[in-house]
Symmetry: D2
Subunit: 237 residues, 4 copies
């Protein structure tokens, strides 16, 4: 296998290594069951330290793409789902996952605040985005705008203008991630479609009854699940 | 309506009020759409302060049993699901919900530790309980023992003997709650059965790949969902 | 007392009410021990609903400015510390507190990621900002730039470009909050100065040894404490 | 150095390895600056796998006892504080730290519930334990009973009987940990004594004003700090 990694001074080393190994799996250079190069081989080819290599491998493992066997090394577990390959450039995947990472604690907290402070009007705006999103999905179209509007309506309900500015900062990245995720959902089974809709409705319900803990949990579970759906076909396919 | 509340010196006032209002809803004395007595009427009949009344009403609202309309008071939203009424004495429901409340942060943390420390052997024990639980459920029986074993196997994998002692302390209450929840699931749709099984499998998967955040989240989402299923028919029925 | 509240359509009602009551306390129109207008009086003067009033009162109570006595109403507990009055316009205080609210979960998560991923170089940048901040504070000057640099160096260490963009979005508001907090610290006792420095060092130490939980906790405790110091003289004066 | 490790079938391997390395540091067999045996040497002497070794080393590092230098191995950073050595058998230290680990999320959640539900009577019980504890500490005695009573009074205020049962289960281990921690505090500086008292008072204050987030945070920060004080002289000595 070609171990000719290119280094880009401005991007984090472990991200670059992650991206390049992912690219090889996506391209089929590394197939299911194939052994990855050893830590030694990677260290020499890429000129990076062990902690950098371990972080990249750990993320590939967390994303369900490789597994490791004690003493024997790491092996390709699965090619990313067709959807991900079809709808995203491999070089964009790591960035897309980091957007989910940043959203997780942030939007959890935003949903908690919304559960404490949402007015009747706020609830109407959230539900209206939710219904629009369900309609568009049921018609087989991509509801990334309505999806973003749903999350933004919750930020508005949090009664904290900084929550709104922060989501605005993430707007482009969130919309990209949503587009990919919704494209994958669209090509999946009907159950998966219903599951995605149910996750959104659970968030709305928790905010509507003012349950702070449930709102935080439902939002974070949704973001974590969306991330998992991107990387991992078997679950909820 | 009879507002003849009985006070029990040893139980928390808001719990007693919660239990007695719940009993009236379960018994059909208060029907869907009926207006609850006003805060003033409750305060006089029960001789308790406003914060006590508000806490009890807030819990009934969080449990999806009542709703409040600005200025007009509180109204019965729904009778608890048949399952809950059939399988639990009304006087036990508040205790059962408090057990879920205590388990939520605790078992979330236990799942995180298990994701960091589970050995191959630990993972086998967790998965074996999971498979047993799925088998029993698929046969239409009540898998409360296997369900508890699943949670206990995770506590064992956390590598902290205090996690094991604490779950042992909660054993009786957890088994009761699981029995009620599984009875309700059994009488529900096939999708709900699959959903309960999937929640458990998501916890196992997160621990198996060593994802600390996902394990915490999956466990807490499961416990929160189980609690919601008890009180709330419409969701995932 | 003059109950002539002005309503501004674009700001949240409870924030406006909070700000106007705060202004009266700051201006000395409402003195320590004075009874606040009743919920009824506020509702009429301000034309807002009870939940809006309760939220505003709850925040004033959380900020240590008022207390409530069962049945008797709410009373002024304390005038905000001199520092806050001297260094901030009353109309800016609510916004400043909302900035702390948004930072709490966000920067906690950022510190966790930094504990997982900080390189030697990242640690040097964090420590260098920390030392600069301590030097400036020891000379009796206001270290808001070094303070912000410290938080930004941690966001850089988190290995997630969205964390950096988000802190950039909050830059102006964070610097304002830091300036007020550091001005109050400067006029306080030597112990308080040491306490603020120690909070920052505890964050650095947790990141340096890679303790994910301790880093999250130390960061959130610091932000919560900074917020408390603003509103509440007696603690750590 | 003698690498003659003894294996005990019933205790977790990484805990045993942690305990035995700790014992060597406490006994002075491994002194400040000494290099620890390599992973290879430990693997052969102890017959354990690399992940087990890494976990034990990672915990020693988290406890501030060793540090590692890229490529060069791990070195002793510090002997545990005199207090810990004087007041605890080395074989008990790992267990004591695991008790803190279990308490962290649990008591955080308990403090949150207490902030929501504490009655005037509950607050009096918490404050009375706090004052007793301060008095005993100021007289130079060991206040482990009052310290436990403080935590138990908070569990009582949480309005959830399972919180009380769980703390009862942990009673012996908590009292042991408190005894050691308070003995170390007693032999420390006056500032440290004040810091410990202030941590408790901050918890009480947050519960008293009903601030759910601050109560959770203050409790967890206190438990994390107590754990750090045990293992780490330099901080707050």
């Amino acid at each position: 296998m070609d171990l000719n990694f290119q280094i880009n001074k401005r991007e984090k080393l472990s991200d670059q290594l992650y991206g390049q190994l992912l690219k090889k799996i996506v391209a089929g250079e590394l197939k299911e069951g194939d052994k990855l190069p050893s830590e030694n081989e990677i260290a020499q080819a890429f000129q990076v330290s062990r902690p950098v290599i371990r972080e990249a491998l750990m993320r590939l493992q967390a994303d369900g793409l490789i597994y490791s066997r004690q003493g024997a090394g790491s092996f390709v577990k699965a090619r990313p789902p067709e959807g991900l390959i079809k709808f995203t450039a491999p070089s964009d995947i790591a960035g897309l996952l980091r957007c989910f990472e940043a959203r997780l604690p942030l939007e959890g907290a935003i949903a908690s605040l919304a559960a404490q402070r949402a007015t009747e009007e706020d609830l109407k705006a959230i539900e209206s985005a939710l219904i629009k999103m369900e309609d568009i999905m049921n018609k087989g179209a991509i509801a990334d705008k309505a999806d973003f509007d749903f999350h933004m309506a919750i930020a508005n309900a949090a009664g904290n203008e900084f929550c709104v500015s922060i989501l605005s900062t993430l707007h482009t990245a969130m919309r990209s991630g949503m587009r990919v995720a919704l494209n994958i959902t669209k090509t999946g089974s009907k159950e998966r479609l219903k599951k995605v809709q149910e996750e959104h409705r659970t968030i709305y319900d928790a905010i509507a009854i003012g349950d702070v803990t449930a709102a935080d949990l439902a939002m974070r579970y949704h973001i974590q699940s969306a991330r998992t759906r991107l990387m991992n076909h078997q679950r909820g396919a």
